[in-house]
Structure formats: C-alpha cells, structure tokens
Symmetry: none
Subunit: 206 residues, 4 copies
DNA sequence: GATGAATGAGAGTTCATTCAT
DNA sequence: CATGAATGAACTCTCATTCAT
C-alpha cells in the first residue's frame, strides 16, 4: 500500500474517532463520556483511540479545536469591504447565527467544556476570540475614524457584539423548543439582531 | 439545646457544605469535584454531606439554585418607573454586570454545568431566564406602544440584550486578566453597553 | 420511681428493640438490616439500642437466642410417659410442626443466620439441638431395650427425625404459597409425618 | 490466538472467579464477602470480575446455580427401574447423602443464602426442589398403586423424605466435628436413613 | 438514660489506560 | 497497526458506632 493510501486510511480512522467523540462529548459531556462508547460509535477498538491520541483529554482538545475553533469564522470578516456597512454587518451576523443555530447541539456543549478548562479557554481565546475581536476592532476603529459610527470604546463594543451572538445562542439552547426564534424565519432574527447593533433601541426620530 | 439552636446548627452545617460545594464545583466542575474534597473544605465528614443531600447531584442542584437562580435579578426590574428610560436601562446593566463580574468565578462555571444538564437548564430557564425575559418584554412593549423605541420584535430584542450581558461576561471570563475591561472603570463599561443598547452603533447625526 | 418500675421500663425498652430486631432481621437478614430501621421500628433512637446491646451482632445473638433457642421445645418431651408411643410421637410432631409453621417467617430466616455463623451455630447446637437429641436418644434407647422398635442406630435415627422436621419446614418455606401443605388440614400433615416415622413406607401387610 | 483459545481463556477466568466466589461466599456469606477478597483469591483484579458478571449478586446467583442447582440430582432417579425398591431408595440416599457430606462446606452456606433471597429461593424451588419432588411423587404413586407401600399422602411423604435428607445434612453441619456420623462408616448412615424411610421405627414383628 | 447528628472506614462499582496477541 | 481483556486507582455512597447534649 502506498504511503498516500496509508495516510488516508490513518486520517480516516482519526476522523471516525473525532466524529464519534464530538457526538459523545456533546451528548454526555467530557467526564460522562467513556472511551468505550466513543470507540463503539467510531467502530474501532478502545486501544485504537490511544494510537491516535495520548489520552481522553487530548481527544477533547482535538475535538474542541476542530469543531469550535477551526470554524470558518474569520473568512467573511476578511472578505471584501466593497459592501456597505449595514450589509456587511448583517452578513456577518447571518453567517455566525446560522452556523451557531445549525450546530447548536455541539457548539454549546463544547463551549461548556471550554468554560471549565483553563487550557481550553486559553486556546479558545487565542484561536477564536482574539482573531475575531482584533478584526472587529480594526473594522470599528476605521469606521470610528470616518465618523460613520458614534464615538465609542472599540474594545468594549466589539466584545458586546460578539457577546450578544454567543449569549443569544446560549439562550436559544437553554430555551430549547420553546424559543420564539423557532417560530420565525431565520432572516428575521438576523435582521433584528443587526438592527440592534446598528441602531440600538432608539426611535428613528431621535 | 433548644429547638432554635438545633435548627441554626443544622442550617449552619448545610451552609458550610453548600459554600464548600460552590467553591469546589466552581474550581473543578461537577464531575471532577469529589465528595471528599467538598467535605474536607466544609470541615465535615463525607457522611455528613449525605445527611443534608441525597447525593452529589442534589448538592449541585442546590448550589446552582442558590447561586445562580436565586439572584436579586428581578428586583430592580420591578422598581419604580419614575426614572427616565436611559437611567433605568443603565441601572439594570450596571446591576447585572457588577453582580456578574463580582461573582464571575462562580457564575460561569455553574453556567457551564447548567448548559450540560437538561434538568438544570430547565430550572434555569424557568427560574431565571423566563421571568427576566417576561419583564423585559413587557417593558419594551410599553415603550414600543408609546413610540419611544423604534419598531422591533420584542421577543428577539430582549433575548439579544440579555444575551449580550451573558455573552460579555462569558468573554470576560475567558479572556481572564487580559480583558480590557480590567483596565477600565466599571462605570465606563456599563456606559458603553448601555449606549449600544440605546443607540446601537450609529452616529448621532443619523 | 421505684427500682421495680425502672427495671420494668428498662425491660420493656429492651423488649421493644428485640421485637423490632426479630422483625427486621427476618425480613432483611442480618447484614441488610440497619440499626436505624430497627430503632425506627422499635420507636427508639439509634443510640438507645447501644445502651442495651454492645453492638448489632449482640442484638442478633439475643434475637436468635430468644426466638429460636429459648423455645418450648423440651417441655413436651419431658412430659409424662403415661401415653402410648404413637400418641406421644404424634404430639411432639404436632407441637413442633405447628410452632414451625406458625413462625415460619422468623424461624427460617434466623436459621439462615445460624447456619452462617459459627458462634450462633454452636449456641444453637448446645441450647436446642443437643438437649432435644439427648432426650430423643434416651426415649428411643428405652423403646429399643423393650423391643418395641426395631434394632436401629439411635444417634442417626434421632437426627433423621429431627432433620425431617427441620427439612420439611425449610421446603415449606421455599415452596411458599405453592406448598401442598397449604391446602390440607394441619392435622393431616402431622399424621403423615408421624406415620412415616412410625412405619416408614412399608405396607401394613409386611 | 485462535477463537478457541480465547474462549478457553475466557471460560477459565470465569471459572477462577466462580471458584473463588464459592469459597469466599461459603466462608463469609454473601454480605460479608467482598469483591476485593474474591478477586484476590481468584488471582484477578477487581475490575475483571465485572467483565464477567454485572455485579456481586449476579455472581452469587451464578455460584448458587452452579453449585447447588446444577447437581446430578436427577440422574439416578431416572435410572433403570430394574432394581428392587430397597436397593433403589438406598442408592438415592447414598448418592445424595455422600454428595451433601462431601460438599457440606458449600451446600449449607449457599442454602443459607437461598433461604434469605426470594429470587434464589424461587430458582432453587424450580430447578432443584420441584424436579426431584415430581420424580419422587411419580415413583411413590406407582408403588402406591401396586400396593407395595401403605396408603399415604404422596405429596407430604416425598417432602418429608427430601426434608429428612436436607435436615440431616443441616444438623450434620451444625454439629460439626461432634456429629456421631463422623465416627461411623458412611454406609452405615445410609443404611439407617434408608431403613427409616422403608420401615419407620416399628419392630419387624408388628 | 435517651437522643440523633456526626463520623469515617470500607463497601461496590466504574473506566482510562495498558500491552500481549 | 489494531485489538479488547485486564488492570486497579479512585469514585460515590452506606451505616455501625460514638458522644455531646
């Protein structure tokens, strides 16, 4: 078998394990998940997991990295600036909100793991939060300079906006089926959130 | 010993255990926390924990209920309406943000537990989220009727605002000491967040 | 309070505890019975049990001694010999069988405890088995001398007869409601057993 | 390693555990026996026990089933009828008595467990008691029809006979070294018991 | 004497990890 | 490389026993 095939096979095995782990960690949480269940769901033997990961925790780190951290988060932010600001912000909100809602069953449980683990928190901070914040800050700073936005503290503001996204998803998850977001078109939700960011609560007249 | 004293002693013991549990659960998370460590920290024997709680999970439920759920959340919201809207919103933000930051080391880890436990989620939803949302919705609805705020979807908007608070705290926790909120006066942060809610990003001129 | 009353009260307490213990030990077995349950059933505090008995095991010993050992076993055996042999044997069988069946729910569970405990076995052997065997052996020996019974080994025979009684009760207990003894008059059962002892299986003609 | 070998190894392990369990349960009783002691005696780790049995109680059930229930009880009973009745009964008594005495250290302690456990009692009733009783009843019924035995209640009689065997062993166990059966040839004991069954106590002359 | 809250040793059980096959 | 039986440390929970009141 060629090197290529071997690698493919190896990668495929690893993929199976990670996918199974995502599922089990999401359903049970890290501590309640057992290596046996992951192995079973991956269709491999327990020992095989340890060929690809040093231990259960390393597998969690990989899962979190793959699922939450290596998201297509930044892509849009880096996209062209040739759109007007409203459209730009709306498209970011739309992208992140849809991604979040689509993957709510994985994102929130894994976020839960991140919140209780210093190393994961740090990784998440460095790989997800920071880059997004930086990009957001730059964007806002630019708009601030051009007088398009009101004078504001860029650092706090961007954290509020990202926080709103995360917090909204969190509430969405906790409310479950009862969430009013379930009985609306997704685009409406995106619109509402975008409007808050752009105009706050104030009446147009103000 | 009088009945009164007995009850006091009993309550005190329970308090010791709950306080220790809050601490250990916050530091280690539920699964990694051991009953022995909680007992040690509470200064009681392991068996004593089981005199007051049926099992470890019941203790968690009590801890979450006491710490997160039974908060003075609603009080301010029910306060008089004789203040202008800006002041009202600002005072709520101030209260919740300060409470959250002050107790960040407990709130977020316990939130993490809530997120992975359906029963806790439901309790949190019913006892914390729902009441606050309802009050917020009513408030917003009233303002909406009087034309003070722009036309908006009340349900989504209130969830965005509460989400912003939660999400901001979450990011604050994850960033740890690096958070720029640490190098600002608390009131500034409150102001910024209030401004976003009230005016969004838009320039005053708009 | 007079000395007499004190003693009575004390004896009464002890009686309460023993009665409760008989009940709980019979239902749960020694190991599964808890001192709390016994105390509760006796209507006293756990600590009170330890005022009357050194420990749980001592309570068991007392219970076994009271219930199984100090039975009215010997009385009949020591009765007058002025009845004919058939009547005598029948009356013993009747007495023991009725006592056993009446108290089956206590006798067998406590026998179970005796069987697994060397000290209890020894006590039972000395206080119950031996006296009865000795009396039986003497009786049989006398009858043997007078030619009324066939030549036989007195020691083995008496153990077979007492064994039959015990074993029959044991089977009765294990079969529970399904036992055919339940659908017969007690006297019939006594008759059958007596007949076996007196005549074995053989036809009258022999 | 071939499938065959694996199975053998697996069976062997299970055997080790069961044998150790028989020993420890017999010595200590179920409740006082610890999984650690069983594991130690079996020469395996505690966890290994749980690979083969769901829990301690399942192990007990298996032990009882193997030791007491799956006995060669019925074989002889089903044997040829071409022997005369005296010989037939004597051979059964001989077989059961020898088996019982040989295994007295296991049989009685396990019987003790059976007596205090409803499920085990039921299993014992169904798997051991009932089949033997049924066979005995049929045998006796046949003899009854042919006038070889005196008129008797078949159901009670067979329970008395089996009871005699069990009860004799029970007394033998309780008396321990002091039992007079120890200072006799085994065959003598068998003869005596057979004679009681066949002729009762009565003198030949009667 | 009576109480029952407190104790803590010790139980059954689980499961991440290893390693001979 | 893959396997999964075996491991044993460590967990939660129980309960006989004590002792201050």
């Amino acid at each position: 078998m060629s090197r290529m095939n071997k690698d493919n096979l190896s990668n495929q095995r690893q993929r199976q394990i990670i996918d199974a782990a995502i599922d089990v960690f999401s359903r049970k949480g890290f501590s309640e998940a057992t290596t046996h269940e992951i192995a079973k769901e991956a269709g491999v033997a327990v020992g095989t997991i340890y060929k690809y990961f040093n231990n259960k925790r390393d597998l969690l780190v990989k899962v979190v990295t793959d699922t939450v951290i290596t998201g297509p988060l930044i892509e849009i932010l880096q996209k062209r600036d040739d759109v007007d600001d409203d459209t730009f912000i709306r498209s970011i909100i739309s992208d992140r909100l849809n991604f979040g809602i689509e993957n709510i069953g994985r994102i929130i449980p894994l976020l839960s793991e991140i919140l209780r683990d210093d190393e994961l928190s740090k990784r998440f901070a460095d790989a997800v939060l920071k880059p997004n914040i930086v990009i957001g800050e730059r964007y806002l700073q630019a708009k601030l300079g051009s007088g398009i936005v009101r004078p504001l503290n860029v650092q706090i503001t961007i954290r509020c906006i990202i926080g709103m996204l995360i917090g909204f998803l969190l509430i969405y998850r906790i409310e479950g089926k009862k969430s009013p977001a379930n009985s609306m078109r997704r685009e409406e939700v995106v619109d509402e959130m975008s409007q808050i960011i752009l105009h706050g609560l104030q009446s147009e007249k103000t």
